[in-house]
Structure formats: structure tokens, C-alpha cells
Symmetry: C2
Subunit: 393 residues, 2 copies
């Protein structure tokens, strides 16, 4: 496992929600790291989102990130903010850090106040166990309805030496990130200017996490942190190094975004909806999202049904500008619709095998325009209903 | 059963899709009726929508409506249009009407050409059997995945005498009507000006069918026809009679719209999402639709789970303008969220019984604005996935 230099990890079982699993995770950088964050655009941001946003506005540096699962601390008012700040004091006391060095994030059920007694019991162990865990333990401790931990890592050979990156994420439901993801942390040991790191991270999020959907719902807690602590001794300053690091970031976040959809609640398929030829990128996005959010398309993919009419109907209600005669739709490389009518291919036979696979490309050509967009979307299954009809109760 | 004067009905089994049920329905007015229609806003309108729209633009009168289930004749190109016109000639030959007197509609699977051989075999019986069926037979013959036929009727005592109305509708999936419904026909035996009838019908559709959602998908075939043939001998001209007829129309279409949601594919609940205090009606609609389309809200209602956090999260991502502190959310009359945090009610206990009922009011107060909107939405269930993962195949 690739672990960027100068980061240590700890996870403990605080008992916030489920038995027999760690649900509180801390990572600490040995030195102050350049820190950037992207957060949910939901108008009801959770308490840790509000607290962290103001911390990063004050200064783009951090020493640590603490994340709990089991409780979202969202829609919890002033008491939720006060509790969040108190958890940072508890972690500071356990680690010798200052509260303003520690970025918070929470995930779980919306609307309950944090169980502060459990936090008080658990916090000291976070300090005592620091260094005993690794990024995979961290990724496991922040899971909620996730079926597997989500990690991605890269090593980058730059003229000055080796730079290491690792990204961790959680999220399986309420996934339709908007300028942020569910919870994710990406760590890097390069030395880099805060402004460069922040810009690079935002671009990478836009190209990856903001282009996936499970259920069309944007969480109140979406947060992505990126920390670069310089402990590799390698500086990223010139254009070539910047480009290499930026590509590695897009690649890591792309891996994690794919895993979010793959592990979408109940999901059995990952549709890669690729829209081209639209009047604008915005129109292409509109089409991709309408198709990717359509319950009828999602259930047809689950049912391995080449029911392309549902895709065309979704394109038709997307609100995008286009000439219906120009639209072409392909599923798994087989063209199904062109010139306003079905092609004469025997698509049921042609698609029988491809539709059994996990990855299903849907290619939609809207016309001659320059607009394009790609969205990853999960299907809608019996298990999705199982998971969500009794997640809380 | 209330049957407006001067209308006759016929249904036959053409064998378009399923065994042992009628799937072709005709209604004929003894005299030319004032006719109005509202149609899907989907950019891929079905062939019968294109044909009927041009007929009603040419003249607001009709003698008959013919509807088939089992085949949507949507996304079928020029051949689909030609087939649609040919079906009108077949029905005209069987009934002695002119093709341009007959309004067409189709529902079923998108993308297949009509089975013209079956149409040719079945059409003569439509003429021979005219008068042997009633509105309920008609409503049954146009069903697809519907669990029950949808009818509503009213008698109206006006100064000039009695006016009778009956409405029939089908639709259980791809239900998020936009300026039209799935398929519906409302018949009336009043004598009324075409312009008054058209306006009245459009207003009623806006207040009813356009405010329901099952799955957020807008069909390619949505069509509502209203025919008024004057056979009661009662004229509707003055303000009071106009008002009475208009109210009766809203009432009938409201009944049918409710039934669409009640019979939404797999649905077990009807949520009445009532948004008030918004900055504008458009913002209120945005909130209502975001909540009503949220898969997480829909599965929670199915699971009888008072998981109000999902409602608040949907409000937060709706794009509406509001102050989060002002928002109040009630479920089945129990206030759950106020001042940015949960109320201190023991809502799990309070809601245990109400959540077992079919009708679930969700009341959302956004602030002090004048904007409001009401949307009926179904829940998302195992049966929804059953129905849609193998509707076609």
C-alpha cells in the first residue's frame, strides 16, 4: 500500500450506531499541510461543513482530519455546531494538536445530535492509537451503507523524487454530488502552493465526483478534503510537475468516483452515459442527468432489457435543445435509434451478452454541436429498495 | 353509471400484446362535438400525438376517439405517422365516419411499428359493436400496467337542465405529466363554445394532471381529449354555468389524477406534498417536485419511516430561494423540523399509525412568501422494480 510520507492514522470503535466496527477515524500530518476542501451545495449544510468551511476560509492549512460515521450532525442547529466544535477540542486534547488544526466531517442519519458521551469516551484512544492504522482502516471506519472500502493510490516519479498520493472515500446513497462528493480525503506528500493545490483539487472534483449519480439526491454532508504536507521533500512548481500531479489527482478521484457508483446502494450496473454533439456542455449535462436519473432507464438496465425507448423518452423531456431527427442512441456499442426511428439491427440478440456485464456504455449523439458530458450512473434494483426502506428504522 | 348523452362505445380484442383482454377502444359522438386536446411536452412526441395535434389545430371538432394499448407508436418515424393515418381510415370504413373526424391515441411499448395486420382484422368489429360497451369497458381496454380502470363521473344541475360528464384515464408508469397526462378522455353533453371548452380544459389539466408524479418520467404519448357534444340540449354560456362546469371538470380530472398516483407502478402510498410560503409559485413547485421525485423520500414512505431528514435534504437541493431557518416540515400533521433543527416531539411514536395509511400529507412551509404548490407523488417499492425490470421482455 502506498502511504504518503508524514501521515499517520487511527480508528476506534465509539459505538455511534453499529456493533463490532470502528466508526471514528483520525488522520494526522506530522507537519502543517496545505489543505483544500470542496463541500455540498445543499442549502442545509451539516454542522461540520459549516465549521470546516469557515476554518479553510481563515487559512488553507491543516494538521488533521477527523471523521465519524453513524451520525450526520446535519439539521441540528446551533447545538450541532457547538457539538462539532467540542469534538475538535476532544481530539485536540487527545493528540496535542490545536482544535483549529483539525478538519471535521460526519456521515450517517440526518437530524440527530451527536452522542457526546460516546465522543468523550472514544477520543483519548484516537491519540493513543495514532500510527496503528492505515488508509484502508480509515476508509473502512467511515463507511455507512457502503459494501466495500474505497481507496485509490498512485506513485509519481518527478524530477525531484517520488511523490505519493492516496485517496479514500465513502458513499453509497444520497449520491448526486454537486461541487463536492460524499466524504473523501486525498493525501499527498508533495510540497505545493496552497493556491495551486486548491485549484487542482477543484478541477479534479469537477471532472470526477461531480459526474456521478446513484439516486439524484445531494447529501447535506458532502465533503472532500485534500491535504499536501510536503514530507516527500519534492516540490511541485513547474508546469510539467503541476500537470503530472493534476493528472494523478484526476485519476485517483476518478477511481473513487467510479467506486461510489459501483457501490451505489443496491447497484448491479455502472452506466457510462456519454453525450456528444449537443448545443452546449450544459445541454449535454442536462441530457446525461435526465437519462441517468430516470427510474425507468435504471430499472431497465437492472432487468438487462434493451428498452431504448426509455432512454429516448428521457432525452425528449430533458429540456435540451435539439432536432429529434438528429439524435442517435447506442447501448453497449449497438446503435438502436437513428433518424427518429429504430435501426433494423436485431438488438435483443446483439445485446443479450453485453447487458450481463457490469459496465454499460450509453452513447447519445445529439447533433453537430460541440457540447459534451459524461455521467456515471447506477441502476435501480430490489436491493436499493431493501436498503432504503429500512435504513433508519 | 353516468353516461353523457349522445356518446356510444365499443371495445375489441385485437391481440396487440396480451391475451384475453380488449386492447382497442372506440367512442363515437352522434353529432360533431367541440373537441380540445392537451399533449405531451416530450420532444419525441408519438405519431398519434403529431397527427391529432395537427387535426385539432385545423378545427376544434371531432366525432370519435380511437385508442389502442400495447403499442405506443412512438419513435417510429414516418412509417409510424403513415400507420397512424391508416388506422383512422380503417376505423372510418368500419363506422361510416370520415378519417378526419377521429382522434387517435396509443399507449404501450415505445419503438415498435403498429401491427397493421391485427388492426385490419379488428377494425370492422369496432363498427359492428358500437353501443355494446360503456365507459368502464373503454377505461379497461386502454390499460397497460394499470391495476384498475380509472373513471370519474358527475351530474350537473344547471338552469337549462342536467349536464353529464364522465372521464376515463390510464397510466401507471412514465407518469410525470407536463401540460398533458397519460391517456385520458373526458366527455360532456353540454353545448359550449369551442374556445370556452378549450380554455376550461387546459386550466383543469394544469390544476390536476400536471401536479402528479409517479416516477418523474414524462411519456412520449401523453394525451388528454375533451369532447362536448351538446346532446343534453343544455347550453353553457353565462358566467355561473361556466363556473359550475369548470369546477366539475377540475373535480373529475382531480379524481383521475389521484387514481394515476394511487395506481402508480408498485405504489402503496399517495403523498400529498403541499408547499407554501415560498418566494414564488415556481419555487414552491421546484421544492414539491424535488421532494416528490426523491428516491430516498419515496423509499422512506414505503418503509413507513419518519425519516424527515431526507425531506429536508431534498428541499435543500431543490434550487429554491429560502432562508434555512424559516423552513418547517410536517408529516401527517406532525411538525418534525423547525428553526433549522428537529422539534422535540416523539415523532416515531406519533407517526407509527399515520404512516400505515395510504394518504400521507407532507406540508412544507418555506417562509413568509406567497408562492404555493401541491403535488401528488407515489412511493417507490419492490413492486415498482418488479414491474419495470421486466415490463418489456
Amino acid at each position: 500500500m502506498i502511504v504518503p510520507r508524514g501521515f499517520r492514522f487511527a480508528t476506534v470503535q465509539a459505538g455511534f450506531r453499529k456493533e463490532n466496527r470502528d466508526d471514528l477515524a483520525l488522520l494526522v500530518s506530522d507537519v502543517p499541510a496545505v489543505a483544500a476542501g470542496t463541500f455540498t451545495q445543499n442549502r442545509f449544510p451539516a454542522a461540520p461543513v459549516l465549521v470546516a468551511r469557515s476554518m479553510l476560509e481563515a487559512r488553507p492549512f491543516a494538521r488533521a482530519v477527523v471523521i465519524n460515521s453513524g451520525q450526520a450532525n446535519a439539521c441540528t442547529g446551533d447545538e450541532g455546531i457547538a457539538n462539532c466544535r467540542e469534538t475538535l477540542r476532544l481530539v485536540a486534547a487527545a493528540t496535542g494538536l490545536e482544535p483549529e488544526d483539525i478538519l471535521p466531517a460526519s456521515t450517517g442519519v440526518i437530524g440527530n445530535q451527536l452522542k457526546m458521551d460516546l465522543w468523550r469516551e472514544a477520543a483519548p484512544a484516537l491519540g493513543a492509537d495514532l500510527g496503528k492504522a492505515d488508509p484502508e482502516d480509515f476508509a473502512k471506519a467511515i463507511m455507512t451503507t457502503d459494501a466495500f472500502p474505497k481507496l485509490s493510490e498512485r506513485e509519481l516519479e518527478l524530477p525531484g523524487g517520488t511523490v505519493r498520493l492516496v485517496g479514500m472515500a465513502k458513499g453509497a446513497g444520497m449520491i448526486c454530488p454537486n461541487m463536492a462528493t460524499m466524504l473523501s480525503v486525498v493525501l499527498c506528500d508533495a510540497r505545493i502552493e496552497a493556491s495551486d493545490w486548491t485549484r487542482m483539487l477543484k478541477e479534479a472534483v469537477n471532472l470526477t465526483f461531480n459526474r456521478v449519480t446513484v439516486d439524484g439526491d445531494t447529501s447535506t454532508n458532502d465533503t472532500l478534503y485534500g491535504l499536501a504536507n510536503g514530507c516527500s521533500g519534492v516540490s511541485v512548481e513547474d508546469e510539467a510537475a503541476m500537470q503530472a500531479l493534476s493528472s494523478a489527482l484526476v485519476s485517483i478521484l476518478g477511481d473513487l468516483a467510479y467506486m461510489l457508483v459501483q457501490d451505489g446502494e443496491g447497484a448491479s450496473k455502472v452506466a457510462r452515459i456519454h453525450v456528444t454533439g449537443a448545443v452546449s456542455d450544459a445541454d449535454a449535462e442536462r441530457v446525461a442527468r435526465t437519462v441517468g436519473h430516470s427510474q425507468l432507464v435504471k430499472t431497465a438496465l437492472y432487468g438487462r432489457d434493451a428498452n431504448w425507448g426509455r432512454i429516448v423518452a428521457a432525452v425528449g423531456r430533458s429540456g435540451a435543445e435539439f432536432n429529434p431527427e438528429d439524435v442517435r442512441v447506442s447501448l453497449c456499442g449497438v446503435e438502436l435509434f437513428r433518424n427518429g426511428q429504430p435501426t433494423d439491427l436485431d438488438f435483443d440478440t446483439l445485446l443479450e451478452e453485453p447487458l450481463k456485464k457490469r459496465d454499460l456504455p450509453i452513447d447519445i449523439v445529439m447533433g453537430e454541436g460541440k457540447g459534451s458530458y459524461t455521467l456515471l450512473a447506477s441502476d435501480l434494483t430490489h436491493d436499493y429498495v431493501n436498503v432504503n426502506a429500512d435504513y433508519r428504522s
